[in-house]
């Protein structure tokens, strides 16, 4: 079963991870069955049902879409690709700046759809990101294409006939989506909000940078020595005794937020890394007696 060239070309360009998973994945035959008139039937343990009904699929999707609350500039996770019919309905109604992260549980089914249906227009819609297969961080990398700091709403759009088929998988994926998006938004916001400050600080420190040796000079300086990386996590206090013992035998590298705690406890780190350009981030270091 070969993917339709138009679908494949877009996957290659926009969703290479999905294409890799389809090519490399091993999956069983899907429980979906095609019927005449593009109706799709799902035969699971609980019985057989049509994912868009078997009477008026377009009408059913209109009903579904009209009940949704899609905000302008919102970002939503959607469960299941189906035949793409519900997603087409969704995109038709959604604003140009809305985003949809579509996750499909069944790689076998996704391959079947991509082999039988030309959904290239859907796949090429910039508002849509597609993912499938094992739930892990890689699945969400496509989210970085979006201007995450500008999102006005984050949520889940549920199409129950598909959600119910893979409920536990989708619950896991949705939970991860919300977690990942939260972290990614913070990262984007930090990058954008601090970009001016970074630029300013870079210019201010340019004279030092020019004279400062390249990091490459440290190559092999600590050869064969163990390195301990210290961050300001909740276990830092519990690790102080270990660090006191290790400080003479290992290279202690810390981030700026852990610096003060280490100094207070008589551990002077060999290297401190500070990337945060905001003044308050440096307060712990600049206090009298700490340098």
């Amino acid at each position: 079963m070969e993917l339709l060239p138009r679908n494949e070309a877009i996957l290659k360009r926009r969703f290479p991870e999905v294409l890799r998973r389809i090519r490399e994945g091993s999956y069983e035959k899907s429980d979906y069955v095609w019927e005449k008139g593009a109706l799709v039937k799902y035969s699971g343990t609980e019985g057989t049902r049509y994912i868009y009904g078997n009477r008026d699929p377009e009408g059913l999707i209109d009903r579904w879409v009209s009940s949704l609350n899609i905000q302008k500039g919102g970002c939503y996770a959607c469960c299941g690709i189906g035949t793409g019919l519900h997603l087409e309905g969704l995109l038709k109604e959604a604003s140009k700046d809305a985003h949809f992260f579509v996750v499909e549980k069944d790689l076998g089914w996704l391959k079947e759809v991509l082999s039988q249906y030309d959904i290239s227009e859907l796949l090429d819609d910039k508002r849509l990101t597609l993912s499938s297969g094992e739930v892990n961080e890689k699945m969400f990398h496509g989210l970085h294409e979006w201007h995450l700091h500008l999102l006005k709403d984050v949520g889940v759009i549920l199409y129950a006939p598909l959600f119910e088929i893979g409920k536990s998988y989708y619950n896991k994926a949705l939970k991860e989506f919300v977690r990942y998006l939260g972290a990614a938004r913070n990262l984007h916001q930090t990058n954008i909000w601090d970009s001016g400050l970074w630029q300013e600080t870079t210019f201010k420190n340019l004279k030092y940078f020019l004279k400062a040796p390249d990091v490459g000079v440290m190559r092999d300086v600590f050869k064969d020595l163990p390195v301990v990386l210290v961050a300001a996590g909740p276990s830092l206090d519990d690790s102080l005794d270990f660090l006191k013992k290790a400080k003479e035998k290992a290279v202690i590298v810390c981030v700026n937020s852990a610096y003060r705690t280490l100094i207070k406890n008589g551990i002077r780190p060999h290297i401190t890394i500070a990337a945060d350009p905001r003044e308050r981030a440096m307060r712990g270091i600049l206090l009298k007696g700490f340098i």
């Binding site: 009209s66 199409y159 129950a160 006939p161 119910e164």
Partner: protein
Amino acid sequence: MSDVYLDSEKVTFNGDEPQNVRGVIEVLTRYLQENGRLVAEARVDGVDIVNLKEEAYLKSFGRIDVVSNTEEEYLSGWVKQVSRDVSVLDRDMVSFSEEILNKPWDENTGRGKEILEGFVPILRLIEGLVFYGKQKEAEWIDELKEQLKGYRGSLNLYTSALALKDPASMSDIVALDLLPALRKTFALIEGPILAHFQRKPCDHGAPAS
């Protein structure tokens, strides 16, 4: 000493006076039927008979008040009572046919059952109207009978979809079958059928032989 009042007039029984509630209601029902009327309301010592426990029907009483209606008055009252709940059911069905598609199944099963229960009084009313319409050879009887048959078919499919946890079918059955049927039925009931009840008693047609 037990007293029975029918439409606020004290009843005098010919022969043996019934000694319990059931006996009184049976005698009065027979009497009213012969006069083209029926028991619309009854209170036993101030308690509505519908709230009475079964054993109380076989007990003696102090006073029974019975209000009678013509069949048409009774059915009109019944129609109005059910119509009040139909607008709520209509609204619920519209939102249910959408929400069954956009919420997890578990959040909707309770509502699915409520919709089903919402049809119980409607079907009872239709059955009552069909019974009356047959007797009176009313012009709307065939249409109403057909609708009743349609409801039975759609509700069977609905129950199967509920058991199968099939949101798409449930949404279709509600939006494409039950909702239009309900609107059609109440257009018929609140139009030609209520108009039929409001005609003069002599225009209601003869009972079937």
